[in-house]
Amino acid sequence: MAENDSWEPKIIGFLCNWCSYTGADLAGTSRLQYPHNIRVIKVMCSGRVNPQFILKAFQEGADGVLVSGCHPGDCHYIKGNYHARRKLTLLHDLMDYMGIDPGRFQVSWVSASEGHKFAEVVTRFTEQVKALGPQTKFTGGEA
């Protein structure tokens, strides 16, 4: 059990270049504390995130995946995050339907000025994934 106690989830974060990535930067420059479990991949827009990226991250061993973009209406590309919202909401539904812990996948809107919100989202999501334990359904590993 000792191993389990020290277990830390691996979380992949797809952050949009214009808002959330800058928001994460702000969290850093403001010296806000948040769990170090998140590994950030910068994308130009949350609309770039193909649902299969998320499933692939799970297959490569991620325990949780966070996608974060500009607030609705604020997209640098006008509608990118609206498109993301449709796709990712259906993916979330599908994960629920197939019984693959939809709690491991989260979308959030974080603007460039919301360093605090970014830290909160990462903290809350890390707690949520920690509670779910290691992800094994896509890796075939043992729980």
């Binding site: 609206y82 498109h83 259906l90 539904d93 019984g99 693959i100 939809p102």
Partner: protein, 309 residues
């Protein structure tokens, strides 16, 4: 179906006429098959039009061959033939034509549609072990997709064969609701059992008229292999989840994937769930009209987002 043979004669007549006048290159229709499934027939001469049939074995969706032809690269030295291709469709198949037109795969000017009215066809899997040949469509033999079908009259048809059939049941998605009612653990156990069986023959992909990527993500090797060839649950799960997402909001529930599956995986239950969700959330429905915007190609400021932080 008392009028099946009359409809069959009419289909043959239309095909004969089109082929004799040379207005179509060929007609894709149904011919008698082995077992309880009709065979695709490619009729090139008016004299062969009598090969065409219409009966409850015509369960398959032939629009796949139309899409294949539309995307085919011309052979070396081959001149493009501008004449349209004739195709025989059921109402459900006609939704695929609509979807293919919507996605700019099929140019409506390059297709002539013989649309049949339809009140259901037989599921060949329900007829295993019975005598081979057309069976009557009864509650025991009807294909599952037909029991929830709302469309009995073809869309986009140049010639309609058969009298108009009134719309019947509203689809209640009870098959999907059954799974939704399970606990998350039960749902996982269910899909784990189903998807462990998959042999990854890719029959569901190959038969799907809407799976037309030039290079499918599951075949892709360069620069990155998305899914390993390993035939085990994690990879099978990835395959089916990604495939369902690729068809979300596009699938018109022709049921071909489930029909061809040699391992009897209930693939329709995945696709129909997303169909239901897309309808509930965004009011979109695939295959209604070629004028509709594609589900993922459109968006609305007020789309629901209850799970987003």
């Amino acid at each position: 179906m008392p009028d099946a043979s009359a409809k069959e004669a009419q289909v043959r007549d239309i095909a004969r006429r089109w082929l004799a006048s040379g207005e179509v290159r060929y007609v894709i229709g149904y011919a008698a098959g082995r077992g309880n499934v009709a065979r695709a027939a490619f009729v090139r001469r008016a004299g062969d039009a009598d090969r065409l049939i219409w009966n409850p074995t015509c369960v398959n969706n032939l629009t796949l061959f139309l899409r294949e032809e539309m995307l085919r690269k011309l052979a070396k030295g081959e001149k493009p033939d501008p004449r349209p291709i004739g195709i025989v469709v059921k109402p459900c198949d006609s939704k695929t034509v609509v979807e293919l037109v919507k996605e700019h795969i099929v140019d409506p000017a390059r297709v002539r549609v013989i649309g049949l009215t339809c009140e259901g066809v037989c599921d060949p899997k329900k007829l295993v072990g019975t005598e081979v040949g057309p069976h009557a469509v009864t509650a025991d033999t009807i294909a599952d997709k037909c029991t929830v079908c709302r469309l009995h009259n073809p869309l986009m048809a140049d010639e309609v064969v058969g009298d108009e059939v009134p719309e019947t049941v509203e689809d209640d998605y009870s098959d999907v609701a059954e799974i939704e009612a399970m606990s998350p653990e039960e749902r996982w156990a269910y899909w784990e059992r189903q998807l462990s069986r998959c042999v990854r023959c890719y029959g569901c992909r190959e038969v799907c008229p809407l799976c037309y990527c030039a290079e499918c993500v599951f075949d892709r090797e360069k620069p990155y292999r998305w899914n390993e060839r390993t035939v085990q649950l994690p990879e099978n799960l990835w395959y089916h989840a990604v495939r369902a997402m690729h068809l979300a909001g596009r699938c018109i529930d022709c049921g071909e994937c489930e029909r061809v599956c040699p391992m009897d995986i209930p693939i329709r239950k995945l696709n129909r769930y997303l169909e239901k969700k897309a309808k509930e959330r965004y009011g979109v429905e695939a295959g209604r009209s070629a004028e509709d915007a594609p589900t993922f190609g459109s968006c609305d400021v007020d789309d629901p987002e209850e799970f987003i932080w």
